[in-house]
Assembly symmetry: C2
Homo-oligomer: 153 residues x 2
């Protein structure tokens, strides 16, 4: 027996809105694309937001980095970083160690942090393949290149 699921035109109260000038703006298209990717990322990597995953990856690639340098690298205030690291440390993913310059904290992944990052990396590759499925390999490279150029390297 075959069950046919009919998806109702939910909220489809007639026609779509006229979009005005929005679709021609880079910022608008960028925002839509980012929202779409964010949804897929969240469905793939339930435990952490893209920004937090990025922070773990930066600590992994730069063991011993200080809080301020890391904050600067991801463009948030160092006061904001305090809370972020408090959460990541509380979840047993990151360790702070006092530096030779005793004003600083060096950051390292714990064993748990390293194994989580390893698992997430694999899932993020799946996510990447899925979102890029609408593009050819060349188009994906082209898009990465154009975004890099737009942002200024």
């Amino acid at each position: 027996m075959v069950t046919i699921v009919r998806i109702p035109n939910k909220g489809g109260s007639g026609t779509a809105l006229k979009p005005g000038m929005l679709p021609g703006l880079l910022g608008y298209r960028l925002r839509l694309a980012q929202q779409a990717l964010f949804r897929d990322f969240a469905a793939t990597v339930a435990e952490l937001s893209p920004g937090r995953v990025g922070i773990l990856m930066l600590i992994e690639a730069n063991p011993g980095v200080t809080q301020s340098r890391l904050a600067q690298a991801v463009s948030i205030e160092r006061s904001t970083m305090v809370g972020v690291l408090h959460v990541l440390e509380g979840r047993g993913l990151v360790e702070r160690r006092r530096g030779a310059d005793r004003r600083t904290n060096g950051l390292w992944l714990t064993a748990g942090g390293r194994s989580l990052v390893a698992r997430l990396k694999r899932r993020i590759q799946l996510h990447e393949r899925r979102v890029a499925a609408r593009l050819s390999a060349e188009e994906r490279e082209q898009l990465l290149g154009l975004l890099e150029k737009l942002t200024g390297e």
Copy 2:
């Protein structure tokens, strides 16, 4: 007399961090590009965020649209839209009028809203030209097309 302003290598505490796998991910590049564009947008359009400007433009292009339809169009909850419109109405930009179906509110720009949108449109075109200055006209079109394809129209 000529004053030479020497810009200190602010926060340049040595070398940049190793970025790991991040630069090869579409989501990461998209986020960086969006952040860069957001900064430029905020410097150009000080009075409203990109999302709020988009809402004004959608009301302009769709006079009489209901709150729920508008919320759906910009992918926020209708409960969230209530507060957004409360602010825009408080600033004299938007007007709510009770619809024929008396459960609904139709939305219109006020005269002030229309003139603000007209001014912002001009400034947004300048912003668009500035951010796209790193790309050729063809590359800009290519980028818009790839983003549209990635997002799924």
